[in-house]
Symmetry: D2
Subunit: 397 residues, 4 copies
Amino acid sequence: MAGYNHLYIPGPTNVPEQVRMAMNVCMQDMRASDFPDFTRPIFDKIARLFKNSTGRVFIYPSSGTGAWEAAIQNTLSPGDKVLMSRFGQFSTLWVDMATRYGLDVEVIDCEWGEGVPVEKYAMALKADKNHEIKAVFATHNETATGVTSDIKGVRAALDDANHPALLMVDGVSSIGSIEFDQDAWGVDCAVSGSQKGFMLPAGLGILSVSKWALEAHKTAEYQRTFFSFEDMIAHNDNGYFPYTPATQLLHGLNTSCDILLEEGIENVWARHNRLATGVRSAVDAWGLKLCAKDPKWYSDTVSAIVVPENVDARHVISRAYDVYNTSLGSGLAKLMGKVFRIGHLGWMNEGMVTTALSVAEMSMIDVGMDIEAGSGVAAAIRHFTDTSVQTGTKAAA
Amino acid sequence: MAGYNHLYIPGPTNVPEQVRMAMNVCMQDMRASDFPDFTRPIFDKIARLFKNSTGRVFIYPSSGTGAWEAAIQNTLSPGDKVLMSRFGQFSTLWVDMATRYGLDVEVIDCEWGEGVPVEKYAMALKADKNHEIKAVFATHNETATGVTSDIKGVRAALDDANHPALLMVDGVSSIGSIEFDQDAWGVDCAVSGSQKGFMLPAGLGILSVSKWALEAHKTAEYQRTFFSFEDMIAHNDNGYFPYTPATQLLHGLNTSCDILLEEGIENVWARHNRLATGVRSAVDAWGLKLCAKDPKWYSDTVSAIVVPENVDARHVISRAYDVYNTSLGSGLAKLMGKVFRIGHLGWMNEGMVTTALSVAEMSMIDVGMDIEAGSGVAAAIRHFTDTSVQTGTKAAA
Amino acid sequence: MAGYNHLYIPGPTNVPEQVRMAMNVCMQDMRASDFPDFTRPIFDKIARLFKNSTGRVFIYPSSGTGAWEAAIQNTLSPGDKVLMSRFGQFSTLWVDMATRYGLDVEVIDCEWGEGVPVEKYAMALKADKNHEIKAVFATHNETATGVTSDIKGVRAALDDANHPALLMVDGVSSIGSIEFDQDAWGVDCAVSGSQKGFMLPAGLGILSVSKWALEAHKTAEYQRTFFSFEDMIAHNDNGYFPYTPATQLLHGLNTSCDILLEEGIENVWARHNRLATGVRSAVDAWGLKLCAKDPKWYSDTVSAIVVPENVDARHVISRAYDVYNTSLGSGLAKLMGKVFRIGHLGWMNEGMVTTALSVAEMSMIDVGMDIEAGSGVAAAIRHFTDTSVQTGTKAAA
Amino acid sequence: MAGYNHLYIPGPTNVPEQVRMAMNVCMQDMRASDFPDFTRPIFDKIARLFKNSTGRVFIYPSSGTGAWEAAIQNTLSPGDKVLMSRFGQFSTLWVDMATRYGLDVEVIDCEWGEGVPVEKYAMALKADKNHEIKAVFATHNETATGVTSDIKGVRAALDDANHPALLMVDGVSSIGSIEFDQDAWGVDCAVSGSQKGFMLPAGLGILSVSKWALEAHKTAEYQRTFFSFEDMIAHNDNGYFPYTPATQLLHGLNTSCDILLEEGIENVWARHNRLATGVRSAVDAWGLKLCAKDPKWYSDTVSAIVVPENVDARHVISRAYDVYNTSLGSGLAKLMGKVFRIGHLGWMNEGMVTTALSVAEMSMIDVGMDIEAGSGVAAAIRHFTDTSVQTGTKAAA
């Protein structure tokens, strides 16, 4: 089909040109004497982006799922009690993993579209006088529903209860895109992957851990080799890896970190908010609702848009894909057919958002939805022009 | 700046992914025994795309300007009388070249925004009883003004006058994008370049000539070496070149021809018309005018949009570039500041057009123009949904 | 440093140009309706290359180490008795993993430079009347010592003992390069990675399993999610993956499989033997020995070359790297300083082997070893010309 | 065919990885406000590499042949008398061009294998009391024969005769590789291309001119547009080009200049001499002769190796290409079948030279030549180890 493929799923995200260039490499020796000169700065840059000043970072050739598993295997032991919540496909999968790993999971189920139930966490933690709960899990950004949770609030709940449990956060679709502060929020295991805010192809699981997580690791009894901290630390400390690393992706990661640091991570967050607000203006103008139940939960990286009951959202998505060469995100599990998702994270700007909105409009119209042509794009354009940086002619006037 | 650069100038155009992949090559021997296996099909494919079944094609490492020069050097002689017209920057430059090359140029000046004055050509040719005019020049698509001329009409004028002059056509921004039929229209020298409809980086001049042009070449007296047909023919006939060809670009050209042939050149033309009509709907909705004076001249590859007198179009363009990471085409020469141009040719689809229109709207609003947010995009979306291929849910309903 | 980096380590290997081009992609939706059209043929091609006609193939975003772990987690249970042998760094690491995973490992230690002790395996299996041994592990090609073991022999030992244990084979540095026949040899879990015979960057673990391994999986009690067969099967059966796959590498893998299948896997094996014999001719001409103790164990993918006792092999390696821009493999663990390794697997031809040998000679001479300049290359050249395909002038004569 | 293609022709040369990465770009607007920030440093870097501190540099989308033509069109007039010499295919072609351009060419024919006849030039210039000779042409490096001429000597001849003629030098296969000093040697037009010492794909003609050439341009009467200095200057002065430049190649050129400047151009020259001497040692060891008649003419960028009378060099070349995946240079024109050429310029190091020599040996042996296997490589290795940088173990000893 003619013209570029437009990719507006919540990951893999669009890869910056510089990253793509950086990955167009021939292979190299991962045991070379100067290999550490290449790898060491990458760890430092990631730590800066996570705002992790006291712990360390692990990079696995895997995925976000792999990094979830690494967090469990390395800091907990079979039978440990953990507190989790479930309000979307990815939080559900993490609960599933924890259960399969033999953890004693206390799950709080919420409606899909809500976020981490901070108050209920607070109550559970206060009630846990004996500190049986070893870890509290929180999905920072539930990619399936477009919900961002209050991780700072979870930390406050832990602190208020004076509870020593580890705080495990799934930041796969948040870190590098929206506010995240590992130090300030006391996150012990922050999980991410290469294919979202880091704007790379999938293939890397990134795990940033606090010094307390490293302390917990000493007594963690899970069997592990591939994901083991101990093997990684022994080699990473010298700039190497315990097995052949995915060097090509590391080259890309190095460049994508540079891009994020050059823009400034706070500016990256602000850009995501500005673009996401444009998308939400459009959804409002279309007369549609987000899956997220409350504005406090609106995600700046992905919007899950609910279609009317008489419409199958899969038709919108296939129309966009088959006719307009555009990938929108599908509804997952119980949201299948009920929502389509627009990923607006990563290497994204206003012109890209308007493509996503225009194609969404055309697809919705094509499948017979009652959408006024241009209404959503118009709302986004108004938002962008109302808030655009004041440079150039207009500013000077 | 974050997010992709959006390129909506009338060339260089966006390069398809497959072409980009095809150019990511290491070097090779241009004298290898199997080099002709690579080059010969390229010539054939180009001839098919030009619809040139009787003559031959030349590929120069140069530009469209180089191919203009090749056409003159190889088919004419100093002092030859030629008929030309001038109605935009590129037709003006071609007249300038002919003049500098010592041709006896009869120029018909038209208003910028008009096209080739077919009637005046007809009169001049009929008046030229002695056939002193050796060649008639016509700019098929004037890139500066967004005007497409009637080449078929020029051929008719020649035929009506029973005039043997060569027909020289600048198809740099038309061929491969909008209707062109070298055989049917009797075009003797059809000039193009790599960076427009062929969707490649700049660097190749492409010249497709009729058998009559080859006949004229035998008596053409210009000095030439680099662009000489005779050297090219001697080597091309064996699948080689008289000097090192731009092999990397040839790899790209091979792939871009495949892409165009797979879509079908008539489908390519139809796609360009559909997308251009969307752009023109937007211009109309904005309450603006095109530089092209009459619908018969509207170009399906580029639209030059006239801004109000109190606005400097350069501010719109710089706003789009500086704030929205988008390249729009500037007004050239006497149109500087009076128009901005949207290139909608090459590797282009609906989603890309809506980006161009959205950014144009935002930029116009930002510089203070009275444009209703979303109005242009809405008009384009209506056009696209009204005419979109009837597949999927809606069609089935 | 000027000129290409010469990479002659036993993986990552040199990436073919076509593979590199295939990986120069933008991202795509791994949930798209046509994604299975892309993924399904890859599984089929890999199965053909492993000669696995009855089981299935798993592709993990990980490494060979990850695929080792996947094999254990999915087919065995904690406390299971397994038979292993140790004769180099990688067989040692696999034993280490099995031990850490709580298997009851019966290890047979051999001298480094020897291969799998088939006779001892046979005795142990015959002695195991109660079939307590659940799996037999064999490192097909010990990358650290350049030793290829007799997997067919291990299968014969199992069959002779009429023993139902699974046969687990590490084929990371053999499969795709030297003879391997999963069906004929009854290999139940064949482990490989992307960065050796598959000529890709590191980042994929490839595991090809027999129907018996799939049967064993039903009762395997290890905790697992990331590497779990059950999740993979549920999604792979529809052409998808349980988490975001490393799509960029899958594109490369698809192309590298095509390259191997086009050459013909038996021809690939023959080429590796021819090139390896050239390397061994050179080692002989240098008056040096291989680490491999017996010709039956000589590896066609990597040669570990023993330097005299008064020489530190690391100096040879650093000389090659620092001065001649060439990566040779280092000695690992107890072989550190005692050997340097030449990887001659993957995308390799005669001209590349002569580079490796020439640089090795120059580096050995530079560090003071008594090597006759050109002696090794001469021996290889003689081997290559004596055995080269008889085409062209000489053949015709 | 498996393994890398080995490219040892005297251009196109091997492209550095960084250059290849730099050319993996999407398109951009050549009229953007910040385009000059990209182009201006390129002109500066080229001037530094040519050692041209007083004139200026032109970059054409063309080839070396195009830059030859640009030099003639822009500094001379039809009928001007020029002094040239002919001793190989490329000097012959330049004479042919000058003749076709209507210059009054005084040609001195030399044996192929000799260089510019400096003494005869000196006599002709002294005899030309009326300064009728407007330009002296000299081929710095005759690529067909592997002969480097004494440009400094030609300048001395001009100065001794106190003659104002322009000095036109073909440095296509010398500049960027072997000593060249435009200022010191008083070269008025120095011609080069992208695909030799600049290590890029073919597609650019590079012309560096002195202030005297710019002065001569004012009265040069050739018709020209594409190659005209006046158009180029008018636009280049602002950082732009008169027609769409080959931006992709300019990105590569920018990077290749950086690579050369980082190594240091004098170090680049020294490296070429060291590598070329290695090649010549091999030729000597083979018992063969170079086409170059005298050591003073030996080229450090290309060696044309004469085969015995009973051998057709084309068989050696086709053997190398068909069996060993290696491109050697063919004999051109009267040297067809008599020589094969090894290009040893550009992105080249010791390991690459030994590949070229090894494959040449294998191919010569395969076609029945009486060459001792390894003899040439051995000689080169001895040269390289005798002269290698004294770092590492040996040096420390």
